[in-house]
């Protein structure tokens, strides 16, 4: 390979704002978000889709951004961890639950858990413990032993209920 790589224009709605980048076809979406758009909250733990740290919401669904090419996300609506807080800047229910329940230690895997659980609680707002373990069952954490992550999901469901004024 001696020629510079051909670049492709991609336009995405990221956390509500239109963002564009010119990237080679092989550029991973995770790298595009982190290095082209400066959204370094999305972390890369394995680059083969196993750890889940790079999970983002693509058109509302949790996906591994390290398994997608940036060019394939052209036109997509993306939410990263930076876009999870409430419009007034306060922590979302899931974020709030994680700090209350000590659901994070080093914080490296946390963005992937937060996005995954945010989508999970939309689908199943009142999960049982088995459903919670299923919800977070594809994300690796080396620090917490998952005990407080499971507790955080339970607590997040409660906070969502409280914020919605539901019993």
């Amino acid at each position: 390979m001696t020629k510079p790589e051909e670049l492709h224009e991609v336009a995405m709605t990221v956390n509500g704002a239109t963002r564009t980048a010119r990237v080679p076809a092989r550029r991973l979406l995770s790298d595009c978000l982190r290095h082209d758009l400066g959204l370094t909250g999305t972390h890369v733990g394995c680059e083969h889709g196993v750890c889940g740290a790079c999970t983002i919401l693509l058109d509302g669904a949790p996906v591994r951004s390290c398994l997608l090419l940036a060019v394939s996300a052209d036109g997509a609506k993306i939410t990263t961890v930076e876009g999870l807080a409430e419009p007034d800047g306060s922590l979302s229910a899931v974020q709030q639950a994680f700090t209350e329940c000590h659901g994070l230690q080093c914080g490296f895997c946390t963005p992937g858990f937060l996005t995954t659980i945010t989508a999970g609680l939309r689908a199943v707002p009142e999960p049982t413990d088995d459903q919670i373990r299923e919800m977070v069952g594809g994300n690796l954490c080396r620090c917490t032993g998952y005990q407080n992550i499971v507790a955080s999901v339970r607590r997040a469901a409660q906070i969502q209920r409280d914020r919605a004024g539901r019993p």
Partner: protein, 795 residues
């Protein structure tokens, strides 16, 4: 104001991490050049030629470096960090391989390019010719020594060491009962979610280097890099950003990348960054745990250990940059809460053509605990005694503290336990797990065709290892308190815990305290984060520093208020007369008054300027005084403090599939006084998960040619939520340490230590088959059932 000590306050770290605003190594240096390495595909080979010509056409290529390009100091082997008299054949790698590679993944050439993708393109095109040499893989081959890893190291033996107290041979010869047991532990690894990484920036005008690295010791890296690059410490800043987990592997320094990246940054005059990928972390960082042990134990009719002889073999991988810490810790911590009348331990530390071995959480203790606890269970089985009874009979008693085990610990100091109450811990554990009621539950399950087993394991952990840590506390004129300590953080919540201590000591609100760790610009003297030492070492240091700042603040305020210092207290950031909350002045104002000024920078500062009054007969700053409200202090204990704990597990094994399911997991734990119980429990949870991983799932699967067959998260089975116990039941005992001002002991590694021991015991109890090697997979257990049948079953 309520005390922060003992409160489970929410972590101050969390807000930025939850919003995606953390700053990990690869989040920095967006404009930096990127590095990729060409690494050895062979476990053992001679390099015959390196041809870079095909790589030169890659667009964006900036530089390619091989060993030949390195300046003299970088061309030497990397330092042997912890020398030891027994380490007679210490070998360390070159930053880039010189003529020989000794494990798959060893760096041979470094590529710098404008982008990581392009750097990897170029690295792939470097044509390196090798003449393969016979690899030495596994402890069996290392011991047999048909082939050598380093041709000048006979028998592959890096070190042979012996420690002992009493006449073990005589005790065993005279003992009424003797058992011999072989025990083995395989390799696992720290495996933090964030790999290693380093970013360097050289300022050509100031001739200063700034380095960010994902490390457990910023001051260690600074000293090593300064030495390698010929710089003074004052010309090198090392900053540890947010670190995505360490668990031991990031205490090693300098990694080849940590000296090569700053060297290239200086040479090229541009920032340069290396971010390790997952495969690189598997094959080019460090592993731990592989050891083989042969135990000979003599004991009396009551199960009391008379003589214990342990011979073991430690796989140190291709090089030993971290010295003998892991096998020394096994040798010494093996004894746990027990007293043997005589003890002798001897180990060989052996080279293999595999990734180097350095501490991983527990650092030799899980193996030692496995050996000792399996031995105690064997004694109990031989004498038909309850396993808890044999333990009780061998415990060191609380009134025997401090207890001298007669050995030298990893810090070069006597192994003297400072405090602890092992009988009380065992009583708590038996109660928590329901030890005495289990037999009935087991029988009831057996009647339904289910196999249940219970196990327990005890450990003692030397924590708070020296030599020292320091702390600095300064009160800003805003009233905010800035705290710095030199060791680093990898997710343990140090910013929170240290702020709790300073808030209490100084009498300020927690939210007014801001803690910085691992930044040599803020604190230049430090050792690092390992051996569960931060709370003990830096916790004590920042407490003592805050105490000094408080004394100064009270002295300055007493002057201003014209009262006796003895009448003043600080509460909620106000220095006030005892019993008169309205009398006070804010700590920030005291900070203003403490610094005699010529120039007023704001309204408050006018009070400290030269025409504002004061005693004109005295110098504005007394000869023995300094401006400002600051305290700096160091804590250097005489020796380590010893935490302890005991775990029990109840497992169910599937009669058909041999799957092991953990039904209960109970922990009793004594780390002295708890600063933040929620954080301590979080540490235990994480440790237990790693213990379960190491017992049931994780192993580094090398083939005979030294290729790591499972160097990805797809194949290396790190626990997901589905693999850890659904609940970890925890109870605490608090026996304060007399060796530090806070009465605390370390907690970071505790959870992992007894994992293999307790689960082996529980599986053995369920299966009635001796478990001598860990980890154990369902297929291992299935093979054990088939191979051993009943002939080795427990009677």
């Amino acid at each position: 104001m309520s005390s922060m000590f003992g409160a489970s306050v929410q972590r101050v770290e969390d807000d930025r991490l939850l919003r995606g605003h953390g700053a990990y190594l690869d989040d920095l240096g967006g404009d930096a050049l990127a590095v990729a390495f060409a690494r050895s595909p062979h476990a053992h080979a001679r390099i015959t030629d390196i041809d870079v010509s095909a790589a030169l056409d890659v667009p964006g290529l900036v530089a390619i470096y091989t060993y030949e390009d390195l300046p003299p100091k970088l061309a030497e082997p990397l330092p042997l960090l912890i020398p030891h008299p027994s380490l007679t054949h210490g070998r360390t790698p070159y930053p880039l391989a010189r003529t020989e590679v000794n494990h798959v993944g060893e760096p041979v050439a470094m590529v710098v390019a404008t982008d990581r993708y392009l750097a990897e393109d170029a690295a792939d095109l470097i044509d390196i010719s090798y003449e393969p040499l016979p690899p030495v893989v596994g402890l069996g081959n290392a011991r047999q020594a048909d082939h050598l890893v380093h041709e000048d190291v006979p028998g592959n033996v890096a070190a042979n060491a012996v420690q002992k107290h009493g006449d073990t041979a005589a005790e065993i010869a005279a003992a009424p009962h003797v058992l011999e047991i072989d025990l083995e532990i395989e390799r696992s690894a720290s495996t933090p979610l964030e790999g290693r990484g380093v970013l360097a920036s050289w300022d050509p005008h100031a001739k200063r280097l700034r380095l960010w690295t994902s490390t457990q010791t910023s001051t260690g890296v600074r000293a090593a890099v300064a030495a390698k690059l010929g710089l003074d410490l004052a010309d090198v800043d090392v900053i540890t950003p947010d670190v995505g987990g360490g668990f031991g592997v990031k205490i090693v320094h300098p990694w080849p990348e940590e000296v090569l990246v700053p060297w290239a940054a200086r040479l090229l005059g541009q920032p340069v960054k290396f971010t390790e990928d997952r495969r690189e972390h598997f094959i080019a960082s460090a592993h731990e745990r592989a050891q083989q042990h042969h135990v000979t134990v003599g004991f009396d009719d009551e199960g009391r250990i008379l003589g214990l002889d342990v011979r073991f073999w430690h796989d140190n991988g291709a090089y030993v940059p971290y010295g003998l810490i892991v096998p020394i810790v096994t040798s010494t911590q093996l004894l746990g809460p027990y007293k043997a009348r005589a003890y002798r331990v001897e180990f060989d530390s052996l080279y293999t053509n595999t990734v180097l071995v350095t501490p991983y959480r527990g650092a030799g203790r899980p193996h030692g605990c496995f050996v000792m606890e399996r031995t105690i269970d064997a004694i109990a089985a031989a004498l038909h005694l309850d396993r808890t009874v044999v333990r009780e009979r061998n415990f060191i008693q609380p009134d025997e503290m401090p207890y001298d085990q007669g050995l030298i610990f990893q810090d070069g100091r006597p192994l003297i336990y400072d405090s602890g109450d092992y009988p009380a811990l065992l009583a708590k554990l038996k109660e928590l797990v329901g030890w005495d009621e289990f037999a009935a539950a087991k029988d009831a399950a057996a009647a339904q065709g289910r196999r249940l087993g219970i196990g327990l394991a005890c450990y003692v952990e030397g924590t708070g290892v020296g030599p020292y840590e320091g702390g600095h506390v300064v009160v800003e004129t805003s009233g905010k308190v800035k705290v710095a300590t030199g060791l680093t953080s990898q997710g343990q919540g140090h910013q929170t815990v240290l702020a709790q201590l300073v808030a209490d000591e100084l009498g300020v609100r927690l939210e007014d305290v801001e803690v910085v760790t691992g930044d040599t610009r803020r604190f230049g003297y430090a050792v690092g984060t390992f051996a569960s030492r931060t709370a003990v070492m830096s916790g004590s240091a920042v407490t003592l520093a805050a105490r000094k700042a408080k004394e100064k603040a009270i002295r300055v305020a007493a002057d201003a208020l014209e009262v006796s210092p003895a009448d003043l207290v600080i509460a909620d950031g106000i220095v006030q007369v005892k019993g008169d909350p309205d009398s006070g002045i804010a700590l920030g104002t005291v900070a203003v008054l403490s610094n005699p000024l010529r120039y007023a920078f704001d309204e408050a500062a006018k009070a400290a300027t030269q025409f504002a009054g004061g005693d004109i007969s005295r110098p504005p700053v007394a000869p023995d005084d300094e401006p400002g409200i600051e305290g700096r202090a160091y804590f250097s204990p005489v020796r380590s403090t010893f935490a302890a704990g005991m775990h029990a597990a109840i497992v169910e094994t599937d009669p058909d599939t041999a799957e092991v399911k953990i039904l209960r997991y109970c922990v009793v734990h004594d780390c002295g006084r708890l600063i933040n119980p929620q954080i301590v429990e979080g540490q235990i949870h994480g440790g237990v998960a790693q213990g379960v991983g190491g017992a049931l799932y994780e192993r580094m699967a090398y083939d005979e040619s030294g290729q790591l067959q499972n160097a990805s998260f797809m194949d290396f089975l790190m626990p997901y939520v589905s693999e850890v116990p659904q609940r970890i039941e925890i109870d605490h005992l608090e026996t304060p340490s007399p060796l530090n001002p806070l009465g605390i002991k370390g907690a970071g590694e505790a959870g992992v230590i007894p994992g293999a021991a307790v689960l082996a015991a529980a599986i053995e109890d369920a299966e009635q088959i001796l478990i001598r090697s860990m980890p154990i997979s369902p297929s291992d257990l299935f093979e054990l059932r088939r191979a051993h049948g009943q002939e080795e079953a427990l009677s």
